[in-house]
C-alpha cells in the first residue's frame, strides 16, 4: 500500500504543485488538497499510465451522486490507494 500511496502522492505533488510533505494517506484530494475536477483528470491520467489501469471515475462519481458511496471512499488517498491496488490485482487476475 505504501508504494502505491507514494506514487500517487508524487503524482499529485508534481501535477498540482502541492508540497509533497503536506500530502498524507489521510488527505482528502478534494477537501484537504483543494484539487478540482479538471486537475483530477491530469492525476487520473498519470495514475492510469503509472499503473496500467483505468480509474473508473465516472462510476465513482455516479455512486457518490446516487448516495451509494461517499467521496471519502475514493478520494481519501489511503482509500484511493486501496482502490488502485484492487484494480491492479484485477488486471492481473
Amino acid at each position: 500500500m505504501s508504494s502505491t500511496f507514494d506514487t500517487i502522492a508524487n503524482i499529485i505533488a508534481e501535477t498540482c504543485d502541492i508540497p509533497r510533505d503536506s500530502i498524507t494517506p489521510d488527505s482528502h484530494a478534494i477537501n484537504d488538497l483543494g484539487i478540482d475536477s479538471l486537475d483530477f483528470l491530469d492525476i487520473a491520467f498519470a495514475i492510469d499510465k503509472a499503473f496500467g489501469i483505468k480509474l473508473p471515475l465516472e462510476q465513482w462519481t455516479q455512486e457518490v451522486n446516487d448516495g451509494k458511496a461517499t467521496t471519502d471512499q475514493y478520494f481519501v488517498l489511503k482509500n484511493l490507494s486501496a482502490r488502485i491496488d484492487e484494480l491492479v490485482a484485477a488486471k492481473g487476475a
Binding site: 483528470l41 491530469d42 487520473a44 491520467f45 492510469d48 483505468k54 480509474l55 473508473p56 471515475l57 462519481t61
Partner: protein, 157 residues
C-alpha cells in the same frame, strides 16, 4: 472552414479506428471579418482557431471511436506551440491521435501541417459526456456526414 459557424474542418481525409488516428483538412478562407481585426493590414489566422481546429479534429476522432454515443468537450490545452503564421487561403492538414481513453475523458496529441511543414501542435484533454439532448446528437451526425466522417451510429442515439 466556415468560420462564421465555428466549423473549422472541411473534410475528414482518413479515419483509422484501430490505430486511433484521424486526419482532416481545412482551407483558411480568403476573406473573413476576423481578418479585419486580426490584423488590420496583415491578416493572420488566429492561433486560438488553429487550436480549435485541432480540438475539432480530435473531437471527431473521439466521436467516431464511441460511435456517436457520447460528446467530447475541450477541457484543457497543453504544450501548445504555434510555430509559424498561417494566412488566408492556406490549406491545412490536421491530424490527431488518441493517446489515452480515460473514464469520462480523452487525451489526444494533435498537429497541423501546411505544405508538409509542421505549424502547430498540442496535447488536448477532452471531457467525454452524454449528449445533453437528442438534437445535438442528431446535428453532430448530420455534420459528420457533411464532412465525410463515415461511422455507423446507433439508430436511436
Amino acid at each position: 472552414m466556415r468560420l462564421e459557424y465555428f466549423q473549422l474542418i472541411d473534410r475528414i481525409v482518413d479515419l483509422n479506428l484501430a490505430d486511433r488516428k484521424i486526419s482532416s483538412e481545412a482551407t483558411v478562407p480568403t476573406a473573413s471579418t476576423i481578418f479585419e481585426g486580426h490584423f488590420p493590414g496583415y491578416p493572420l489566422m488566429p492561433g486560438v482557431l488553429l487550436i480549435e481546429a485541432m480540438a475539432q479534429t480530435s473531437g471527431w476522432l473521439v466521436v467516431a471511436l464511441n460511435r456517436f454515443e457520447r460528446m467530447p468537450f475541450l477541457a484543457a490545452v497543453k504544450e501548445a506551440k504555434l510555430r509559424t503564421f498561417v494566412t488566408p487561403g492556406q490549406k491545412l492538414a490536421i491530424t490527431a491521435h488518441l493517446e489515452h481513453d480515460g473514464s469520462g475523458y480523452a487525451i489526444t496529441a494533435a498537429k497541423i501541417k501546411c505544405g508538409g511543414k509542421l505549424i502547430c501542435d498540442a496535447t488536448l484533454t477532452l471531457r467525454v459526456l452524454d449528449f445533453p439532448n437528442a438534437e445535438m446528437g442528431r446535428q453532430m451526425r448530420e455534420t459528420a456526414g457533411r464532412i465525410g466522417l463515415q461511422v455507423e451510429a446507433p439508430v436511436n442515439g
